[in-house]
């Protein structure tokens, strides 16, 4: 067993792929980030393990369930099937980055008031898909909302409260835009 450290009960070395670490620099939630990483690391694992941003979740690891959804360069993507290195010089937003100066955003508040979450595991990914939708289309109809979240599985809510929350957030955001 582990020859190098066999006699020490406490061996903290990560072996990972054993490849030489490579520099990755990108912008995450508005902040510049630089780290040396295993080149085989996925973007999701980079966010969670390196940056300790645990909001994004792994639900399936193969781009089906959407729990890992983040926004990269303005579009919603599944971070579990993207290599971390592909994010070089790109801009990434996670659920930790959609608040407004420490206050929760309208979108997040509408999720709360419409009970658009139960166990909460799909919620970060769902919020990111919704955020990406409202950023590209401030006035989506119901079928556009459904299409935006069709790749985010939820086993708890039955989706209806989520659709209502997003529609309501869209309306409130448009009103806020008018007032600004």
């Amino acid at each position: 067993m582990c020859e190098k450290h066999n006699n020490e009960g406490t061996c903290f070395t990560y072996v990972d792929s054993g490849l030489k670490k490579v520099l990755l620099s990108c912008i995450v939630n508005g902040e510049s980030v630089c780290a040396y990483i295993d080149p085989t690391m996925t973007l999701l694992n980079f966010l969670r393990r390196e940056l300790k941003l645990f909001g994004s979740k792994e639900g399936c690891g193969e781009g089906e369930c959407g729990a890992c959804t983040i926004i990269m360069n303005g579009v919603a993507v599944n971070s579990c099937i993207i290599l971390a290195l592909e994010a070089m010089n790109e801009s990434i937003i996670t659920v930790e980055g959609i608040n407004k100066n420490g206050k929760i955003s309208i979108l997040q508040q509408e999720f709360i008031s419409h009970d658009a979450l139960q166990c909460g595991f799909c919620t970060p990914g769902m919020l990111m898909s919704a955020r990406a939708l409202l950023d590209r289309n401030p006035n989506p109809n119901e079928s556009e909302i459904i299409e935006a979240i069709a790749g985010n599985f939820c086993r708890c809510t039955g989706y209806v409260p989520i659709i209502r929350a997003i529609a309501s957030a869209a309306k409130l955001e448009r009103e806020e835009m008018k007032n600004e």
Binding site: S17, T40, T42, E62, G63, I81, L83, E86, A148
Partner: protein, 304 residues
């Protein structure tokens, strides 16, 4: 009842598929095409990375254990999405499925391609998946193959030895197999110009209303001179053109009766397999239904 495509895929463990990438690879992202082609030439077994929606899953299951990954997204030629009047549309290898789906021009000229793009997979996946990636993966059920085939698209291929163009209808050679040589890279796909009045439709049957792989995909096109082109996916080792039926349909005026005849005739032509997604019996049945519906749609469109 093993899926046909699984025979071509290697697993380390027979039991439950692995979930951690074990490959140790070099990742390169050249900005010049010639660099990419040289890399491909020098490094056997290099995997091309564009959207990654197929490759990353293969890596995760350790079905592929490459030592070299070539990210082509920085190569300018692969990012071109360009229409030239009277010539046609060039879709570069890194153009995403959503870019195709959301293009008003493509919707107007090549509607089946937009319809297929919208039905490919979830919004997040479509933001990454590429049209060229879909055909290079060459699944028998590749959603975008049918529309490309009915438009007689041309696949632009480059290597250190030069360039060549292959008609999409000769591009697929078997389950997950194409004519591509190991040192070749698809730069993009070219769809010839279509005239005003050309119409097409893509119909897909899946198990759920949400995004799913196709049980069967049918693409039908009517050109301005009333020629019918018909392609079906997921009913053969590769996507196929139903040339036999095209001849019959193109020789007469399209009517509802002809559409119903086509529905029955399809049953005699295709020989799909049964797999975990569907029985052969249902595939045959639904192919007929979708062919009929596609033709009826063209009939109503043909009035314009």
């Amino acid at each position: 009842m093993e899926c046909e495509y699984k025979k071509n895929v290697r697993y380390l463990s027979d039991a439950i598929r692995g979930s951690t990438v074990l490959s140790k690879f070099d990742y390169v992202k050249p900005e010049l095409l010639v660099e990419a082609l040289n890399y491909l030439e020098e490094n056997d077994g290099t995997k091309i990375l564009a959207g990654g929606t197929d490759l990353m899953i293969m890596l995760r299951h350790n079905a592929e254990i490459p030592e070299h990954i070539l990210d082509i997204k920085a190569i300018p030629e692969t990012n071109m999405l360009e229409y030239k009047a009277n010539e046609g549309l060039f879709i570069g290898a890194c153009v995403t499925v959503n870019q195709v789906a959301e293009s008003k021009l493509i919707l107007d000229k090549y509607p089946a391609l937009v319809q297929a793009s919208n039905l490919l997979a979830s919004y997040q996946l479509r933001n990454r998946a590429t049209l060229v990636g879909n055909i290079c993966n060459a699944s028998p059920g590749a959603d975008l193959a049918g529309p490309l085939m009915v438009y007689d698209a041309k696949v632009h291929i480059s290597s250190t030895e030069g360039s060549r163009i292959v008609d999409i209808n000769s591009f697929f050679t078997g389950v997950k197999k194409t004519v591509l040589k190991r040192n070749e890279l698809v730069i993009g796909v070219f769809l010839p110009e279509v005239l005003e009045g050309d119409s097409s439709i893509f119909l897909k049957q899946a198990r759920i209303k949400g995004h799913d792989l196709a049980i069967v995909g049918v693409t039908a096109r009517m050109t301005v001179d009333k020629k019918i082109k018909l392609a079906i996916t997921a009913v053969a080792p590769t996507p196929i053109r139903i040339t036999k039926l095209e001849e019959i349909l193109s020789s007469k005026a399209l009517t509802a009766e002809l559409a119903e005849m086509a529905e029955k005739e399809v049953h005699n032509i295709i020989k799909p397999i049964s797999d975990v997604r569907s029985s052969a019996q249902y595939r045959i049945h639904i192919s007929g239904v979708l062919v009929k519906r596609a033709l009826l749609h063209l009939l109503t469109m043909g009035g314009k």
